[in-house]
């Protein structure tokens, strides 16, 4: 083994870093977006957005939408906490104010009722959700059932067909989000979407696109280093 592609979760990538470091084995993650991922080991790399970048973008986008006070909801893992903290920083940098903030375990039923409480808090002009599709779907359904009309901004990880499958198209209609992957971004990506849908009968999400791109890069590197591929050659190549 000369390289590991993965992991998916920032929490797992951060926890595994000492093992990769000890084995002098490159781990490149296409998904884990916590800011510390590339700081914990010289053998841990990534090819994805970073929460510091997304948080600043989320904050600026909410401000442009006219939100001046927001409610924030999310999940208490490394990803969710980083997303919320950095979105908060991004929004406050713009001059905005966070009037409600709550993290809740992913499978906790209270996540949905938090949405109601958050939406009522001091009349926020927007909401953000730092969570993955299963939790975001719950919150969006609750907000829609309450008739909440203020803008809701969700993260790039929620740009997945799973959101509509879990929440229904009506509940997610009009939801704003950060986009990292979309067929309009270029002909190569459009072609990837077309081929992915033909093969799997569903559109790809950012995780699929990032994983494909990272795998192609690593295979290109391995092919060019053929006959001399080693853990150290891979690390030097990156």
């Amino acid at each position: 083994m000369v390289v590991v592609l993965g992991s998916w979760s920032s929490t797992v990538t951060l926890a595994a870093a000492p093992v990769y470091n000890e084995g002098k084995l490159v781990n490149i993650t296409p998904i884990s977006s916590h800011p510390d991922v590339t700081k914990v080991s010289p053998y841990v790399f990534r090819q994805s957005l970073v929460q510091s970048q997304e948080g600043a973008f989320n904050g600026a986008s909410l401000w442009k939408l006219g939100a001046r006070s927001i409610a924030m909801l999310g999940i208490p893992n490394d990803y969710g906490k980083a997303n919320m903290a950095l979105t908060r920083r991004g929004f406050e940098t713009q001059g905005g104010k966070v009037v409600f903030e709550r993290v809740r375990a992913a499978r906790c039923p209270g996540l949905s009722s938090d949405a109601a409480e958050g939406a009522r808090a001091k009349i926020p002009t927007g909401s953000t959700i730092g969570a993955f599709a299963p939790q975001t779907a719950l919150i969006l359904k609750q907000l829609r059932q309450m008739g909440i009309k203020t803008p809701v901004f969700v993260c790039a990880a929620d740009d997945t067909p799973d959101l509509a499958r879990l929440a229904g198209t009506e509940a997610i209609e009009g939801t704003h989000l950060t986009v990292q992957t979309n067929p309009v971004l270029g002909p190569e990506l459009a072609d990837f979407y077309k081929r992915y849908e033909a093969r799997y009968s569903r559109l790809p999400d950012p995780f699929a696109a990032n994983s494909y791109n990272t795998a192609m890069m690593m295979m290109t590197m391995a092919a060019q280093q053929y006959l001399n591929v080693s853990r150290e050659s891979i690390r030097k190549g990156l």
């Binding site: 989000l177 971004l185 190569e188 890069m217 290109t220």
Partner: protein, 48 residues
């Protein structure tokens, strides 16, 4: 797909499905472009 990564040296860019991505050696991060989208009829539409 045009794969223009120069991997005989260190990779500083990769031309894959996202187009040309650049690597910042200082931060050890790849630079992804982010856009603002809105969901319409169950599909993400890029608006900005």
């Amino acid at each position: 797909m045009n794969r223009s990564a120069r991997v005989s040296d260190e990779i500083r860019s990769f031309d894959g499905i996202f187009g040309k991505l650049k690597f910042d050696p200082a931060s050890r991060e790849w630079e992804f472009k982010l856009l603002h989208g809105v969901i319409e009829n169950g599909t993400t539409k890029v608006i900005n």
